[in-house]
C-alpha cells in the first residue's frame, strides 16, 4: 500500500492533496510521520509547501462555500484515525462535482464529516464549559484540560474576549501545549514539566493565591446547596457532564 507521510499540520495535509493530483495517484493512507509503518510499503514524503496548499484551497473555494472549507478544518482537528482519507475523498468529490456537494447528506462522506464536525464543536463547547481556573500566588489564572479532540486552538478567541483583564494559561495535558494570555495577546507555550499535578490538575498549595482554596470550597458548597434531593438523577448529570472531564473539575 502507498503511504503519504506529512507533518501533521493542515497546510501539510493540503499539500498532500496537491501531490495526489500532481502525481496522479491515490494513497492508501495519509499519516503523520510518527505513525508506525508496516514493512515494505511505498512511501511518499510530503514536503509542506504554502503555495501548493494555497492552490488546493483556491480550487475548493470555487466549488464549496467558505463555511464548508472551515468545516473541513474543524474535522481535521478531530485527529480521528484516517480522517485524512475521508477529507481527501470529500475534496475529490467536491472538485469533480459540477454543483456544490456540501449539503448532500445522502452522500456517506458528507454525512460522516457533518457528524464529526458536530462532535468536534461539542468538544469545544465542553472545554469552554468545564475549564476551571485556579488563581496563582502571582495573580495568574491557570487551568489544565484534556480534550479528546484538538480543540484548544478553537477556544482562544472566546477566552481572550471573556477574560481580557486577567492573565490566564490553559494547558492541554494530552498534547502538551498551552495557550497563554499576557493581557495583550495569546500565544502558544510548551512546558517540559507543567507545574501541576497531572492527575488532579491542581497547582501546588504554595503557589496558590491565599483565597483560592476558600473560593473552591465556596463553589463546592454552592453546588451542594442548590441540588434538589427529591429530583436526584445521576444519569442525567453524567450525560451532560461526561465523566472524562471530571478529573480536572474542582467540584468532583
Amino acid at each position: 500500500m502507498l503511504y503519504y507521510l506529512y507533518d501533521g499540520t493542515f497546510e501539510g495535509f493540503l499539500t498532500a492533496v496537491f501531490d495526489v493530483y500532481y502525481r496522479k495517484e491515490i494513497p492508501g493512507r495519509i499519516v503523520t510521520a510518527e505513525t508506525a509503518l508496516p514493512l515494505f510499503t511505498d512511501i511518499h514524503n510530503v514536503i509542506t509547501a504554502k503555495d501548493k496548499a494555497e492552490r488546493v484551497f483556491q480550487g475548493l473555494q470555487k466549488k464549496i462555500s467558505q463555511s464548508a472549507i472551515h468545516m473541513l478544518y474543524i474535522c481535521y482537528l478531530s485527529e480521528i484515525q484516517d480522517i485524512e482519507r475521508i477529507l481527501l475523498r470529500y475534496i475529490q468529490k467536491a472538485l469533480t462535482s459540477p454543483v456544490s456537494i456540501e449539503i448532500n447528506f445522502a452522500d456517506d462522506d458528507v454525512l460522516t464529516l457533518s457528524k464529526i464536525y458536530k462532535k468536534v464543536l461539542n468538544e469545544r463547547t465542553h472545554l469552554v464549559q468545564f475549564v476551571r481556573f485556579q488563581k496563582t500566588a502571582d495573580g495568574m489564572y491557570f487551568a489544565l484540560t484534556d480534550p479528546v479532540y484538538n480543540v484548544l486552538p478553537l477556544c482562544a478567541d472566546f477566552f481572550q474576549d471573556r477574560y481580557a483583564d486577567q492573565q490566564w494559561l490553559i494547558y492541554d495535558s494530552r498534547r502538551n501545549f498551552g495557550l497563554y494570555y499576557d493581557l495583550t495577546e495569546t500565544e502558544i507555550v510548551r512546558f517540559e514539566h507543567p507545574p501541576v499535578d497531572l492527575k488532579t490538575g491542581s497547582i501546588v498549595r504554595e503557589q496558590q493565591d491565599d483565597d483560592e482554596k476558600a473560593f473552591q470550597d465556596l463553589w463546592k458548597e454552592y453546588l451542594q446547596s442548590i441540588t434538589i434531593q427529591s429530583r436526584k438523577n445521576l444519569r442525567l448529570q453524567r450525560q451532560f457532564m461526561p465523566q472524562r472531564f471530571w478529573k480536572y473539575l474542582i467540584e468532583k
Binding site: L111, Q129, R231, F240
Partner: protein, 417 residues
Amino acid sequence: MNPQIFEKLKILAEAAKYDISCSSSGASRPNTEKGIGSAAGWGICHSFTEDGRCVSLLKIMLTNHCIYDCGYCVNRRSNDIPRTTFSVSELVELTIEFYRRNYIEGLFLSSGVVRNADYTMERMVRVAKDLRTIHRYNGYIHLKSIPGVSRELVAEAGLYADRLSCNIELPSEQSLRLIAPDKDYQSVFRPMHYIQQGFLESKEEKKKFRHASHFAPAGQSTQMIIGVSPDDDNRILHLAYAMYQRPAMKRVYYSGYIHINTYDSRLPALSAPPLVRENRLYQADWLMRFYHFKVDEIVNETHPNLELEMDPKLSWALRNPHCFPVDVNTADYEMILRIPGVGVKSAQLIIASRKFGRLTSENLRKMGVVMKRAKYFITCHELPAYTIHEVSPERLRQLLTLSAKKKKDDKQLIIHF
C-alpha cells in the same frame, strides 16, 4: 475572608434552588475596554448538579427574610428556618470571583420581600449597578423582579440586567388567591408590562441612536408551578401561549411542585414532584416554539391534559391520522416537522438533501430519524405500506407506548435553554 460567607452562601443558595430558570441565553455583550467578561449570546452550562440541572448562573437570594406567606415557598414567613442577608459588596465579590474562575456565566439574583417591594428591589438593583459600573463587569445578570415593584425601579433594573423575570407561579388568579393570598395577578402582570414597555422603547431608540442604552436585551421570562393547584394543562399552555405572543417574553418555565410545607392543608400532598407531567409540558412548549404548533392543536376543551404515556407530538399524530403518511421527498418543511421521530435537525437535513436525489429509509436513519416511530407516518416509495392506516391508530398507540415504557427513567426533566 469572612467565614460567615460560607453560612450565608449555604442558606441563600438553598433558598433559591427551587427557581428553575437558569438560562443565560439571549444576550450578547462583547467585552468592553478590557473589563471583565462577555455574555456569549447562547447559554453555557458550567456544571450540572446531581439532579441533572444545568448550572450556568450563580443563583442566589439577597435575603431569605420575607414578609409574605406563599404556600408553596420554603422561605414563607411562617417557616422556622435560619435566615440571613448578603451585603451588596459580598454578593458582588462572590460573583466576580466565581466568574473569573470560569465557574459561572453570571448572576441570577432573587430575594424575599423585606419591608416592601421597592425597598427590596432597590438593593437588588444596587448589586447589578455596582457590578456594571464599578467593576466593569460584562457577564450575564438576571434579576427577578419583586411583585408589586414600581415602574421607576423596573426601568433602572433594565439598564443593568440582561434579563428580568416575574413569576406567575400559579396558572389562575383563583389559585393564586387561595395559595398566595399576599399576591395578586396585578402585582405580577404590571411589572411584566413595564419590562415589555422598556424593552420595546429601547429597541425603538436603538434604531435612531446607535448608543441608546440597553434595556434587558435578553427580555423576560416567567415560571409556573405545576401540580400545586387543580389547573389543567389546557389552562397552563394557553397562558404560556399568550405569554409568548408578547414581544419581550422569551421563556416560560414549568416547575414540578415539590411538597415542602407539609403542614399546610391547602396544598396537595404529593409524594414526589410531577416530573413526567413537567417534562410533557416542556415538550409541548417546544412544539409551540420550534415546531409551528398552535396551542389548540396540543390541548383544548376536549383534550384538556397532555398524555403522560407519550410525547405530545406523537399524541397529536395519533389523533390526526388523516394527515399521514407524509411523503418525505415532496412534503413541505412544516409537515416534515410533524412526523413523530423527526426532529428539527433531521427535518432540515431532509429538506437540504432531497434536492440531490430521492431519499431512502437508510438515508433517513443516518440523518437521525427514529425510524421505529417514523415508519408508521411516512412514505418514501420503497417502504412497504405499513402506516398508521394499515396498523390503525389504536393498535399503534399500544405499540409505541409499550416500547416507551421500558425507558421510563429517561422521562426525567431535561432543561432546554
